[in-house]
């Protein structure tokens, strides 16, 4: 390894009962457990057995009914992430808890408070995956006819993040003194009222939760559009991102790490974790069989629907064995812009039909798919890690619990053997395990000696 001793970070991205759109039909999965706590408890404890840095939960605020058949053919119901991760916090000890929460349909006070609470209750393991939402159906569940424009979502997100961070700093770390004798629970001089008045929010503060154990819960982002990269360079501590090729991933890695300096940050302050969808077999043949079975299980309408949602363009009227139609210009897309570009380029590069394209993305959804034996999987992870494309990976098991168990039992030992991954947790907080420093309170930072 170029950087001796550098180890990769691993996230367990738990889309239940698996990332593949047909996962629930896979023989190994019990689709009926998708709202049962015992199912998630087993997954969380498996990830912790594998020394994963974090559990990662995506989220959305709607059942999309655009493609009616897909409603019947896919899993549309899952627990809300903060509720679930809070429940999991008390049956795990080490693994980080990353909940996706949108800045477009929430209030900063509630978001600051829930993550601060989870961070206290989990002794410093909370992280927030900041998203701006990309599904127009969500707007209609929140008193709106239309989805907010992409550029406005990012403006709102930036102010939202500032407010949340400000609220987390309401109290200095040592504000609570618990002095029974002198009737002083809190030192009022260490209370900072925010008084925020901005374009999107007016929030007085202070927060009615103490400063989080980690200072701030870890900030995760996934946007790869231009405003997404700028926001990430300024504020993100982990980036979850989707790339198909080493070259693309390297370019993104260099681009975003290169932007950090402008904001007074060093490259080590941001952990870049591309998504990886692994199909693991004890032999190459077994892996290929698993992949073939998953593809065969995709109902056509569910496949077209998934693809249409990912590119924010309705493909249901086009022949499934024909090419992609002429798509709108990127400027017209008000969903995930980077995903749109990635899939359009992939279809053009490999001349894929609609069916071939949805089969390709029905598991990884545009993320990197790797397939093979544990050694081959480890090789592919190592390649990106040592060649400047990743600091770690967000693992997207095709089906659960089997896909995660295979990774933990077969791939993790191989990574450990190569010295690429920890054999025991070293830190007590998520921030420590990720190698991220704890942000000092602004008041303490001002007082720090100039050395």
């Amino acid at each position: 390894m170029a950087d001796r001793g550098r180890q990769l970070k691993l996230g367990a991205f738990l889309m239940t009962p698996g990332h593949h759109v047909a996962a629930w039909r896979y023989p190994d999965t019990t689709a009926s457990e998708v709202l049962k706590f015992k199912f998630y408890k087993k997954l969380a404890q498996t990830a912790e057995r594998g020394k994963f840095d974090l559990l990662f939960l995506a989220d959305g605020y709607a059942v999309s009914e655009t493609y009616p058949e897909a409603v019947a053919q896919t899993v549309t119901v899952r627990p809300e992430p903060i509720t679930l991760l809070s429940a999991l916090s008390s049956v795990t000890e080490h693994v980080g808890l990353v909940a996706t929460v949108s800045t477009t349909y929430n209030e900063p006070f509630h978001v600051a408070r829930k993550f601060a609470s989870l961070d206290h209750l989990s002794d410093g393991r909370a992280a927030w995956n900041v998203v701006t939402s990309g599904n127009p159906a969500e707007a209609q569940n929140f008193n709106k006819d239309h989805h907010l424009l992409h550029s406005l979502r990012y403006e709102r997100a930036e102010e939202f993040l500032n407010v949340v961070t400000g609220l987390w700093n309401s109290w200095e770390d040592d504000a609570f003194v618990y002095d029974k004798e002198n009737a002083t629970f809190a030192d009022r001089s260490k209370l900072h009222t925010l008084h925020h008045k901005g374009e999107w929010f007016s929030v007085r503060g202070p927060l009615n939760v103490a400063r989080p154990v980690q200072g701030h819960p870890v900030i995760v982002q996934a946007g790869a559009s231009e405003p997404g990269k700028e926001l990430a360079a300024r504020t993100a501590e982990v980036i979850f991102t989707a790339w198909q090729t080493l070259e693309e991933a390297q370019a993104f890695y260099a681009d975003v790490k290169g932007r950090l300096g402008q904001y007074g940050r060093s490259p080590g302050e941001l952990v870049i974790m591309p998504g990886v969808f692994p199909i693991i077999g004890r032999t190459e043949a077994e892996a290929a069989e698993k992949k073939a079975l998953l593809e065969q299980l995709i109902p056509q309408e569910a496949g077209v629907s998934l693809l249409s949602n990912l590119i924010s363009f309705d493909l249901s009227a086009y022949p499934v064995d024909g090419p992609l139609p002429d798509l709108p210009h990127l400027d017209q897309i008000n969903g995930g812009k980077s995903r749109f570009t990635l899939l359009k380029d992939l279809a053009e590069r490999e001349s894929l039909t609609i069916r071939q394209l949805y089969q390709r993305i029905a598991g990884a959804r545009g993320h990197r798919e790797i397939i093979g034996t544990p050694v081959q999987i480890a090789d592919q992870l190592e390649e990106w890690f040592v060649h400047g494309a990743a600091d770690g990976f967000n693992i997207m098991p095709p089906y659960l619990p089997g896909g995660l168990e295979d990774f933990v039992d077969l791939v993790v030992p191989e990574l450990q053997k190569r010295g690429l991954f920890r054999t025991a947790y070293k830190g007590t907080t998520l921030r420590e395990n990720l190698g991220l420093k704890r942000p000092p309170h602004p008041a303490a930072a001002q007082l720090a000696p100039l050395t």
Copy 2:
């Protein structure tokens, strides 16, 4: 007992580190654990050991800075209730989980989803205490200059509840079929899209969580004003309420139970649980000593501040050893109207000074205070229970964990000996333990045979 076999219901109202405003100074409490999970885990498991029906958590969305000294002298930071109860759901098995969430500063989609999630994850133990918020400082944390008027808050609350209930009914109970062979996860004919468009909310639906285990999480309310009582008669399944005397409690009980018929409901469909603040001693002298110590520990500013907040009127400029000043008419009060009336009447009835009044309410906050030996405490609970004033009680321990442990170890056995309280959980859901029926899905109700 008049109604042979009827047993009372018990809630553990966990205001940490105790309900008394000086609880954190009490020798028995560890004030520094107010954000630590292990503290709450111990409390929850103690309540479950005592066969309590439910844990009850209040909530608010601000640190009130109206009385600066009180900020230093009181506990202003606690975990957010849904986060905390979710964490507790996985270390308990039987006890109900009641979270307070305001309809004034939330979105129905999020509230429906979080309670549905908690109900699934806890196997049917979730309940929602519906409040409309009473503290003007909260408005300023949610982009508003002023607190919404009392009457408008209740209009909004009613529509909010309708939307949440509608979202819980998005899917019929048997909508999910998990048919791998035929690629049918859900039966689309059992999906009901809400399409709500009202005065306050426009929410399309459906909810992306299955119908809750309990049909609906149990609905709890606390309002005792005229609109509060009407809303409760129409929609509440548990009422948490505050009365000082048997006569008042009986009148309220008869009033609200009498309103149920108008909405096609029977008296058994609503459980009335007044709050009770118990000071328990092994002897009368020990109980009296505890009470005297608690009173002595109240910092004056904290006492005046608490009282001012409860009556929504600033008393800080008035002599603390003088009477209450002339208070505004009830119509001018935009906080908790029933609490205002209760405290004003109490002060007049007993000619209390401001100090005497805050000492009286510094623990119970207007709820009934009972003091004495376990037998005396049980006598006082039994009196209200058998004389048509209560179906059970929400117990408000003065300090924690000791106040709850004393109740469980000393009072519960006395109630059990009298046949007034269960010795084992009988139901598996909160609804079953409370004797409340599971609401059928409206579609199933329509199909029910007319017998």
